[in-house]
């Protein structure tokens, strides 16, 4: 017996840092000029995934999640699973299925279809699918202007479906269009016209036609085409070749966000879901080593993510210079680059995961006093080992007191740090992100986001930061 499956919730994340495209060619940023969203120095595909997923899961019981599928071409780890890391940061159950989907720009399609199939088959009730990418082009190379960074999370389930997945169709193709070998830091690509014509357009048209044939439908049956595109021109010519008129093609936000890799088509789908009416049919097309196309139908629903795409777009903050971008990606030598330094011992990380990654405080079951990080004896009543875990990451709080540290090494000094009181009374000493000095005051309301703290020990070391609400 199979169960109907589809998207039941979603959440997005777009970093607040913007790189004005003019910087790339040595120009000056113009107000309202084209720009792209780039991960800040404390962000990567894992932190962005956690933030998007937290919005997707807002207000629900996280113990009901049976799996995390993480799709990205830029996991910070070549060996070590990002999905398990994200699950830990989200404080999910440990008896769940975690899978990393990678290696191709259409990894998100594979993850979505796998999740749909698992729910169909009844092997899982709810699976979190997250697409997150922060791809690196060689500085000042032609493709650098195109890439942007973002993450999108979908919850796949069978109840309260907001977009049902009717069918999917995939083709595989072997072509050197864009690739990164074992030792490449930057993405390589072949000549643009060859790649767009014989890679992107051929595959996309073939897959879309395949799906339409399979369902015995035409483009007229679809209200919106949500199509991955490497740039505005290639997207519009592919859409035309499939047969979609330009007003049916979901706006790909070029000049605002950039092509965010595996997360791009998912982000455009989220954008289209923000506007879709019940009954709308959406064609969702992914590209990468072939193409994969999904047919979706929008159901009546009441779900809205906390933060919309428009919200993220309007809170963008332009970088001061191209140099600060290079520094934040470790593309420029810096005296503060301590990646070879000590790092968090793996044993310490292991022992402190509940505090540092899941951001769990402890509540004394005798007197109610909250403690962060975990400890053995209560500050309030001195009871020993009488604690229950309380998740802080989904709470808000306020700044009790703060400072701006100019001495501690950071790519963008000063480092803002504050003692925060979480709404439930727990106290946390955390750095602040997406904030400027002039915003700070005592009692400023904040929320908490998962961020990279440093790369010491040649690996990302994560913790939570506060962010002004």
């Amino acid at each position: 017996m199979t169960t109907a499956a589809g998207i039941t919730r979603y959440g997005i994340y777009i970093p607040s840092t913007r790189l004005p495209l003019a910087f790339i060619h040595g120009g000056k940023a113009k107000e309202g000029g084209p720009e792209k969203a780039v991960a800040g120095f404390d962000e990567d595909s894992i932190t962005m995934a956690v933030t998007a997923a937290a919005d997707c899961l807002q207000g629900m019981d996280r113990r009901t999640i049976d799996g995390v599928y993480f799709a990205s071409t830029t996991s910070p780890f070549r060996e070590k699973q990002a999905a398990a890391f994200v699950a830990k940061a989200l404080d999910l159950r440990s008896d769940i299925s975690t899978i990393d989907f990678g290696g191709t720009l259409r990894a998100a399609a594979s993850a979505l279809v796998a999740a749909i199939n698992a729910v169909h088959a009844g092997s899982a009730k709810q699976i979190l699918v997250i697409a997150s990418d922060s791809r690196l082009a060689a500085p000042r190379s032609p493709i650098e202007s195109n890439f942007g960074d973002a993450a999108v999370a979908f919850l796949i389930g069978s109840k309260n479906i907001l977009a049902g997945v009717e069918s999917s169709y995939a083709i595989a193709d072997e072509i050197y269009d864009a690739w990164r070998s074992e030792t490449d830091k930057f993405i390589r690509s072949w000549e643009d016209r060859f790649v767009v014509t014989h890679g992107y357009q051929d595959n996309l048209v073939k897959a879309c036609k395949g799906l339409l044939e399979k369902l015995n439908r035409s483009v007229k049956d679809y209200n919106k085409a949500v199509i991955y595109g490497p740039d505005a021109r290639s997207l519009s010519s592919a859409a035309k070749a499939i047969g979609f008129s330009s007003e049916k093609v979901q706006d790909a936000l070029f000049g605002k966000l950039g092509n965010c890799g595996t997360a791009f088509a998912p982000l455009l789908l989220a954008s289209s879901l923000e506007q879709a009416q019940a009954g709308d049919k959406l064609l969702l097309a992914f590209y990468g080593d072939g193409a994969e196309v999904l047919s979706l139908v929008v159901h009546p629903h009441g779900f809205k993510p906390h933060h919309s795409i428009a919200w993220y777009l309007q809170r963008g903050k332009a970088l001061r210079s191209y140099d600060s971008y290079l520094k934040s990606r470790h593309l420029e030598a810096s005296e503060f680059d301590r990646r070879g330094g000590d790092g968090v011992p793996a044993t310490v990380h292991y022992r402190e995961r509940d505090s540092d990654i899941s951001f769990l405080a402890q509540r004394c079951t005798k007197c109610g006093t909250l403690h962060f990080p975990a400890c053995r004896v209560c500050y309030g009543c001195y009871a020993k080992d009488q604690f229950e875990n309380v998740r802080l990451s989904d709470k808000t709080g306020k700044v009790l007191s703060y400072s701006f540290d100019h001495f501690f090494p950071t790519p963008e000094p000063p480092l803002i740090v504050g003692m925060c009181e979480v709404d439930n009374g727990a106290r946390v000493y955390v750095q602040m992100t997406d904030a400027t000095q002039d915003m700070l005051r005592c009692d400023l309301p904040v929320e908490f986001v998962f961020r990279k703290i440093h790369d010491a020990g040649h690996r990302p070391n994560y913790f939570w930061k506060s962010r002004p609400l």
Partner: protein, 391 residues
Amino acid sequence: MSTRVKKGEGIRDKVAIVGVGCCKFGENWHQGSEDMIVDAVYEAYADAGIENPQQQIEAIFCGSVYPSRGTAEVAESLKLFDRPVSLTQNYCATGTDAFRYGVAAVASGMHDTVLVVGFDKPKDRGVSGPSIHMNTARGLPMTPAGWFSLCCARYFETYGAGREELAKIAIKNHHNGTLAPKSMLKKEVTMDEVMNARMISWPFTLYDCAAQSDGAAAAIITRRDLAKSFRSDPVYVKGVSIALSANPQTDPHFDFLAWKPTIAAAKDVYAQAGISNPFKEIHLAQLHDCFTMTELLSYEDLGFIEKGSAKEHIHNGTFELTGQLPVNTDGGLKTFGHPTGATGVRMIYENVLQLQGRAGPRQVKGATMALSHNLGGAPQTCALALLGIEG
């Protein structure tokens, strides 16, 4: 918060200081810890009239936060072997805590005469300021300036003080430092210089931060009844205390307006000495001005003045050399220098000179009771030593 119950009769007038010494503080590139320890201890020997330390020094209590070899560093420098030598390490309260162990050893009758040595040699590390480690992801930035600045925002918003009041403390201590022969910095500074200096951790500029330096200081202590066999004007220990409180970063009840360990240690030391009005009964104080805000909060936390009234007193000059209660008469950590383990003993050195009328141009007239104060950690630990000349 727990209520600590004080038991025991305390230390008042049981132990005397009969000799003190201090090396020149600074970036002592030409001196190792051996040189500085020998300079400080031999000055203390001479001060106490000790001619045969091999016979007269029974035990050594050392304090150092960055020792290279620990107890052996001191014993081998002085060639004092075959006797007890211990080392204590207690954040920035290390020097005063080493002194406290020495006092307790003499008061208990275990020893008659012991040597206390505080020393540190941070300038062999090759970095300016504190070392930065990235062996944790939580709790960063882990810099002393970052930790100690955490009270500023809330205190400023609550009581109206600000960077100008902090600057006045820096200006005062820079002035006092010019009058102390062994201080590291001898430089007057102006309000403009302090306000416009490089920011370290808001609101602290370079001039709000103590000068990290190399240094060593020593004290020789003995039983009260033996004191006058060393010199005619011994200084008596009226009280000595240390208290460790919850880390402000994890304390669920911290209010960011006061440092708790200072309040706890002050309560204890005043009880030992029978002090009921510290502002009147204490005539000068060496306070732990690692950062100017620490000195400001300490005026209040030690009960010298009402909570929140520091601004007014700073403008009135209460704590200047000519004021009612001079603070940091030798320039403090700010300009005398801050070799962590030596600092508490250096403060005792200055208070002994002041009580014996030997402080030269910075002498506070008629002083009979002097307090010294260390605050260390995040901060969590405070040590106090109260000395007097009438026993």
